[in-house]
């Protein structure tokens, strides 16, 4: 199978990917006996939880207290952000991916101090289109192509996402001219971010100008206590434990070298990769800091070590004298898989991105005890 065909197959898997959910109604909203059984739902990875309302309402309506429905979900006490795709929530919050994923649904008592309001499908659609505009701006330097979409195209695009219809989606979205990322593209890193924008990406004709920037949303979960197995991973009980980075990745290719997934993660989280050499993925290696080398500029001044993930995402335990003092990249998860970091980033983007044209990457990091990973640089 050639690379193109493999890509198309990957996309199909991604579009058809779904998370089995076992959804329990919160007991405060149960007014009848016996308790209703949990609803068993297959939720599309690329979808959003509030869109499940038409499936869930009939199941629970007979037991709900009177009032207006404002649906929201929680996982072990953590209210779930509805604008994050379902698959990403699952990848991020369930280190050891439990199937079915047990969630609690509420129809009342929306936590408006934590979650932005959601008024059903329209809110989700607005958030989706907004993200798509942002992605278009990142790739083309303007969002004209999205803003100029005809009404019928917009409707068709949204429905293709609602129904998980990849063919329709690809047909409509191709009109947006959000070009696939090519390996051969060479872009320059943008040094002065504050220059007057007269020369960015905006031509008189409104046509796209490749900026070499890729829309990426990165979710970093840092823990200070190491764990061997994913099932020992501590639970996330607040969104403050997750660093969310909505930052485009600029692809720049050096001669004869491919811009890999590792390069992309490194561009976003440079503090994780003090060592610049490529790691042979077959052999786990420990990068020990040489005593003779001058201390690195790295602000946290840690000894960095890179774990190499095996196919199942389990970590190879490297013995190291002072475990607690390291920053370790434990896991990189995209669309439920742990791709090898050597894969060309362009392939990852083209085949694993979500329909709003963002690539969502979940990263699990173990940080030294007293020094939390900075949010951003």
């Amino acid at each position: 199978m050639d690379v193109e065909a493999m890509g198309r197959e990957a996309q199909k898997y991604v579009w058809e990917g779904a998370i089995p959910l076992q959804i329990h109604l919160h007991e405060s909203e149960v007014t009848t006996l016996p308790h209703p059984s949990p609803a068993l739902v297959l939720a599309p990875r690329m979808g959003y939880l509030p869109l499940l309302l038409p499936l869930l309402k009939p199941h629970f309506s007979s037991t709900l207290p009177p009032g207006v429905d404002t649906i929201w979900f929680e996982y072990k006490g953590l209210p779930l952000k509805w604008h994050i795709p379902t698959g990403v929530l699952f990848d991020l919050l369930c280190a050891e991916q439990e199937r079915p994923w047990n969630l609690t649904v509420h129809f009342r008592g929306y936590p408006g101090n934590i979650l932005t309001p959601c008024e059903g499908e329209d809110s989700v659609k607005w958030s989706f289109i907004n993200s798509l505009k942002e992605a278009a701006y990142i790739v083309n330097g303007n969002c004209k192509n999205v803003m100029n979409m005809s009404q019928s195209d917009q409707v068709e695009l949204w429905h293709s996402v609602l129904n998980g219809n990849m063919e329709t989606y690809q047909r409509v979205s191709s009109k947006l001219k959000l070009e696939k990322v090519g390996d051969q593209y060479v872009g320059k890193p943008n040094s002065n971010l504050l220059k007057s924008r007269t020369n960015t990406g905006e031509t008189d004709t409104g046509g796209p100008v490749k900026t070499g920037r890729i829309p990426v949303r990165l979710y970093v979960w840092s823990v200070s206590k190491d764990f061997d197995d994913l099932e020992d991973a501590p639970q996330i009980d607040s969104w403050d434990q997750i660093s969310y980075m909505n930052r485009p990745v600029e692809i720049h290719r050096e001669e004869d070298k491919c811009f890999t997934l590792r390069d992309a993660v490194k561009a976003l989280l440079p503090e994780l990769f003090v060592e610049k050499t490529l790691i042979d993925e077959e052999i786990p290696r420990i990068e020990l800091e040489e005593e003779s080398r001058a201390p690195s500029d790295d602000e946290s001044n840690t000894r960095n070590e890179e774990d190499v993930e095996e196919k199942q995402g389990e970590n190879v335990e490297c013995c190291c004298p002072s475990d607690d003092a390291e920053t370790k990249l434990k896991l990189v998860r995209i669309q439920g898989i742990e791709p090898k970091l050597e894969i060309p980033f362009s392939w990852v983007v083209n085949n694993l991105m979500n329909p709003e044209h963002f690539l969502h990457i979940c990263v699990f990091v173990k940080v030294p005890q007293a020094k939390p990973l900075p949010h951003d640089r």
Binding site: K81, G112, N113, T116, I138, L194, S238, D240, R247
Partner: protein, 215 residues
């Protein structure tokens, strides 16, 4: 009992550019001279919007016994509920956050009353001075949405950034002295930017802030 509408004297404006390249901080004291401090990563503007009610004075006059609505001669307890002068204070927090996607600063804000109750957008729009609601309604470039604050994990209001680059460009193109091919200095960009977006949310920027450029 007319509520009177006052802005307190403490308009403190601190701008910090969050682009990872370090921060430049301006602080504006009182009615505005521009100072420059070095600060950490904080970025916020707070304006206190005070509604004061003078009723606490009036109530104390109503001390006499009056028949209650049932017509009985009952003793009316004339203890005065002393209302704190600052009971109806509305707080605004403004944050300026750099958007890596749009490569412009974005204004986030929230507003709440003194008991911490957040206020709704409709109520906020009533509070804004007249011309700012015009700016909001007429301009296709400014609209307010409620979104998650990128760092605080809470819903805040945001002035949508997708038009920012366009009108900032227009702003600088119309005045050749304001920059040029070398690009615009950060301080100038920011003060121009805040003078534009501030209009949409009722923030006034004193002229003094513009007198300090290129010295």
């Amino acid at each position: 009992m007319e509520p009177s509408h006052q802005v307190t004297s403490a308009l403190l404006l601190m701008l910090s550019l969050r682009n990872g390249k370090g921060s430049t901080l301006f602080s504006l004291h009182g009615h505005g001279y521009l100072g420059q401090n070095h600060h950490g990563r904080g970025l916020f503007v707070t304006r206190e919007h005070v509604h004061s009610q003078e009723d606490h004075d009036e109530k104390s006059h109503k001390g006499n016994e009056e028949p209650n609505c049932l017509g009985k001669d009952e003793y009316i307890d004339n203890a005065t509920l002393v209302q704190s002068y600052r009971q109806d204070v509305r707080y605004f927090d403004f944050h300026i956050v750099y958007s890596a996607s749009y490569r412009v600063p974005v204004l986030y804000f929230r507003t709440y009353s003194s008991d911490g109750q957040p206020l709704l957008l409709e109520d906020i729009e009533k509070e804004l001075p007249g011309n700012s609601t015009n700016v909001l309604m007429e301009s296709k470039w400014t609209f307010i949405t409620q979104e998650e604050h990128p760092y605080l994990n809470r819903p805040w209001y945001k002035l949508h950034p997708c038009g920012t680059s366009e009108w900032m460009k227009l702003l600088f193109l119309t005045d050749p002295s304001l920059g040029g091919s070398q690009g615009v200095p950060v301080e100038l960009y920011l003060s121009s930017w805040i003078s534009m977006v501030g209009q949409a949310v009722g923030l006034k920027v004193p002229l003094e802030m513009f007198n300090k450029r290129k010295e």
